[in-house]
């Protein structure tokens, strides 16, 4: 089988079997890319994960792009990414049709209503993890004073205040905190 087709099918499998998103996809990608098809070495794969974590976007799209670029340039990027999203696209389109067809039914409403508190909690849990990671450098719940980062805490508190009081845009908050934080660290000579 030509290499590009191999890549395409490898990423269809990644897209199809990575349920639960994010980190759940990493072992799957590793199996397809490193173990089965030997498209990247284990070291390159570690680099890939590091880059994927440092940049925006879902980890599977990031790795599809990275692998595609390394192996076959822009054409590889397009093919790998396409493979990665085809399963999601088909499955979610079907689910969306069902959802909008039946969601107004009373019974479906009751069942969906019980999912909503869980989703709120899941988003809350993700928020707590990132908060702990931001303030203490580890996503586990901890209050080690020695790890506490005061600059991040001030940024977090200010950002939350601006969001709640003045409803400023989320994008402005994220980019602004990056710029202000970097300036603060540089001014303090920590870089």
């Amino acid at each position: 089988m030509p290499l590009l087709l191999k890549l395409f099918f490898a990423f269809i499998q990644v897209g199809l079997f990575s349920v639960g998103g994010g980190y759940a996809a990493i072992p799957l990608i590793e199996e397809q890319i490193v173990d089965i098809h030997r498209l990247l070495t284990p070291e390159e794969f570690t680099d890939l994960i590091a880059v994927a974590e440092m940049t925006p976007g879902p980890i599977s799209i990031n790795s599809a792009t990275f692998v595609g670029m390394r192996i076959a340039g822009i054409g590889g990027v397009l093919l790998c990414t396409l493979g990665c999203i085809i399963p999601s696209f088909c499955i979610c389109l079907i689910l969306a049709r069902f959802y909008y067809k039946y969601r107004s039914l009373g019974g479906v409403q009751t069942v969906l209503a019980s999912l909503r508190p869980a989703v709120v909690a899941l988003i809350g849990s993700a928020g707590l993890s990132i908060l702990m990671l931001g303030l203490f450098g580890s996503d586990i719940f901890s209050f080690e004073i020695s790890d506490f980062r005061i600059i991040e805490f001030i940024i977090f508190a200010a950002a939350l205040f601006l969001l709640r009081k003045f409803k400023i845009s989320a994008v402005a908050v994220i980019l602004g905190s990056g710029v202000i934080g970097t300036l603060a660290y540089t001014a303090l000579g920590a870089v």
Partner: protein
């Protein structure tokens, strides 16, 4: 027809910007989408956004892509899905393509490392802000069951590391049981 194009363009543009700013996993982008499409553009309502999140979390594939497919479908049918997905995958594709060419310089740059580290504080603030609003609305239902489920799910997800899929399926089971009990009461 002209208006449709305008809506599709807005959909593409917003997905592109949100995706470019999504550092750190699927639930971050869900928070951003909620702010954009529920609070600002008012294209979808809050309950719908939570339903969409539950669906995206239980289907395979990257969460932001799944959410784009469903939100796009809701706004403009299948063409909406295509446009939304395109908008959300282009930023990571472009960014990673460029970085893969300048990989060593990127990894060793101290300013980039610091910026990425402090940005987490901003991302956390955005998510906590969204969660406060959502949790308030769960409490407004005044159903003890829902409030208890929310607290239990938070403990399971954060402290006990139970996977999101399992939490959603257990709550789905509770929802079905809740429905059957309500029907039985009605029958009496």
């Amino acid at each position: 027809m002209k208006k449709d194009y305008k809506k599709l363009w807005t959909l593409f543009k917003t997905m592109f910007v949100l995706s470019a700013c999504t550092f750190g996993g699927g639930f971050v982008i869900v928070s951003l989408m909620k702010k954009k499409y529920v609070e600002q553009l008012k294209w979808i309502d809050e309950e719908e956004m939570l339903d969409i999140t539950a669906i995206t979390q239980s289907s395979p594939g990257p969460l932001p892509v799944n959410a784009s497919v469903i939100i796009g479908y809701r706004i403009a049918g299948i063409s909406g899905s295509l446009i939304a997905v395109l908008g959300s995958i282009l930023p990571p594709m472009i960014i990673i393509s460029v970085i893969s060419l300048f990989y060593d310089q990127f990894r060793s740059n101290k300013y980039i490392a610091i910026a990425l580290q402090v940005m987490r504080a901003g991302v956390a603030a955005v998510i906590i802000d969204v969660v406060i609003n959502l949790a308030k609305n769960v409490c407004k239902t005044k159903r003890v069951l829902y409030i208890a489920m929310m607290c239990a799910a938070l403990i399971c997800a954060y402290f006990l590391n139970v996977s999101a899929m399992i939490i959603i399926f257990v709550c789905l089971g509770i929802g079905i049981a809740d429905l059957l009990i309500a029907k039985k009461k009605e029958a009496r």
